[in-house]
């Protein structure tokens, strides 16, 4: 899971942190510019950033299927009654 060692030596972990900041929408315009400038010249970082974008975009493209048609009814049938049942009598 470690990022370290995986990456190009010349590119500090800072750049990767910056990528995540940009992806989180937390980066300032200046920071975004800094990243864009960097990946223009650094092939490895560009690839890294593109891979991050691709994987999150793939997640976003998963469908949101509905549960079964009888879902709500099944839940309703399993709901406990709030009234205490009369025992005996």
């Amino acid at each position: 899971m470690s990022i370290r060692g995986e990456h190009h030596l010349a590119c500090s972990e800072r750049i990767i942190q910056l990528m995540h900041k940009v992806l989180d929408g937390d980066a300032t315009t200046d920071e975004e510019d800094k990243l864009m400038k960097h990946i223009e010249t650094c092939e490895r970082c560009r690839k890294h950033y593109e891979e991050l974008q691709t994987s999150t975009s793939l997640l976003g493209q998963l469908p949101h299927p509905n549960p079964s048609l009888g879902f709500t009814d099944s839940v309703r049938m399993r709901l406990p009654s709030n009234r205490k049942p009369l025992v005996g009598g």
Binding site: S55, L58, R78
Partner: protein
Amino acid sequence: MEEDINRLIKKIKKGDHLAFAEVVDMYKNGVYNICLRMVGNRQEAEDLSQEAFIRAYTKIDKYDVERKFSTWLYRIATNLSIDYLRKKKPSVYLDADLPGTEDFTLKSQLADGEPLPEESIVNSETQALIQQEINQLPLKYRSAIVLKYIQDMNLKEISEILNIPVGTVKTRIHRGREALRKRLRHVNKG
């Protein structure tokens, strides 16, 4: 929506099953998709989602109306999924990054996945592949990633659902993204 919910919750507290059924209809897709992507299996997700709603019904008195209902409900669903997976798989799997046995098959994915109209959807094979990679994520990263990228929730909401600080949410999402990047880099879109 929040107003509707508060009206319904008053009824639910009095034991109104029909009011609760309305709530189920409103949130079943969200609850189901959290469970589905957490456990990667339709039948298990269906069972867990039902369980989540039943738990919500029985614990409705604990819901604080000042807070967002969906946050409370999704927290129940997420916790149930995590508990379920912890029981199901050996604990070493959960935090170590070991490959597990995958029961998310193409067949189960194809069952009746009815996509929402506006979504651009990857093909079934790719879907199954992405799910397989989600299944490999340790649970703490998986839950953060699912809430962020499947449910499209903001970091604040995720932090409330998972009961961890926003900074920790970010770290988990960063690590989850890095793990998925390595695994999904050879996947072709489409």
